[in-house]
Point group: C2
Chain length 232, copies 2
Amino acid sequence: MSAPAKKARRRASRGSGEELHGEIVEATKRLLADSASADAVSIRAVADAVGVTPPSIYLHFADKDALLSAVVVAVFAELDAAMLAAAEGVDSPMARLCAYGQAYVGFAVEHPEHYRIAAMDPCPRTDQQALDEVLADSAFNHMRAAVTECIDAGYFAGGDPLALTLDLWTAAHGLASLMIAKPYLPWGDLETVANRVLRAAALGHAAADLIGDDPGPDEVADWLVKQRTASS
Amino acid sequence: MSAPAKKARRRASRGSGEELHGEIVEATKRLLADSASADAVSIRAVADAVGVTPPSIYLHFADKDALLSAVVVAVFAELDAAMLAAAEGVDSPMARLCAYGQAYVGFAVEHPEHYRIAAMDPCPRTDQQALDEVLADSAFNHMRAAVTECIDAGYFAGGDPLALTLDLWTAAHGLASLMIAKPYLPWGDLETVANRVLRAAALGHAAADLIGDDPGPDEVADWLVKQRTASS
DNA sequence: TGTACATCAGTGAACGCGCGTTCACTGATGTAC
DNA sequence: TGTACATCAGTGAACGCGCGTTCACTGATGTAC
């Protein structure tokens, strides 16, 4: 009905065509936040939100996949920043690991469509693999560092910190992505459930090593019963 | 180039227009398995695979969403069957819980696009919520039954079996969905990693109760160090 | 300081496509007589 | 047993749409002289 909300854009001056680049990524993120999927965000809508015509987008991105990849980059950077901020001033490595996890799940739930495109959707044809190997690296490496410190502190058995970090990542991702995909399930309070799930993941990996070398279900069950009777 | 692979379809006889219903669902599942997403499977492609024209689909499904919902129903049923099959003859509840988890992750990794549409993608507008509350119920209830047995056996502290089941589900889902979304990560052998992750989830929840009431990171860390020194 | 000109950020219009869906229809199937 | 007819599973053609992308262009910007 009313004229489309075109921002009065001033044409970028000579050297700085790159201004638009950032604005486009931001607008895409904004639109994505209110959409059901990346498919639902069209180049036209992005152009309109920025206050520019669709062909302008192609001045800055080869195609839609390239644009979405840039968004994924931005999202991973934001996620990493949120994790670092949450762990600031937290000294004990175990507490830091938990803080990272809480921040991770919190970010995902707060920006479900951003998380979805970064961590749940299929990779675009362009090798996003290489892309987020490099990028998630920031967040992932921070987590791995905390895991390594936990190993050094004797909380976890030594061994492969990468595999352990990956395992813990699946725990955080499992909660985050399932809360996003099935928000109507009776999750309860976010912080409470995240705390429970993340603690269980860390504790569970550590405890498995206490029981023995790759214990089976029955060994786990026996150990639990023994512990419970001993402590009561 | 060559004529489309039309199956020579015989027209359904009078009472049995419903034959097509099942064939359409099966064809959709088959096409989905080779696609990147549900959007990439078109009504036209489904019709073609069944050997029928596109409007025929609408004789059996109100719209595309309804068709996809039917597929989700079928997928959940298959998943449940796979879990039950895997746990057949497994008597101890902890082992059964692990068997369920292994089967769950195995199914997801084996049928990634089916798992994606059922458990990772956003719900269609039609209230799939109600849909899969009823349907996943079969699989979910089987898991909950195993959890309850584990509680009865003293492996887990009593309390809310539903919340615990949900927590364990996030563990299985986390591994499954992350392996699907990021298959290029260094996961290692499926059975090994699934065993590790699922065991950690179960053990972790049980162990948290051993430590105390909702223990914080530092309590967990202290407990782990104490256990480790005691056992060495 | 003033003017001609090259640059290049951004435009307007259109392309071709594949999609979900609709609609009037056809013709095999089974039934009534 | 044979024929007229109602039923309804499935068809053929088309609809309108929104999409990603292209292409020849415009006109403000900054520079050279």
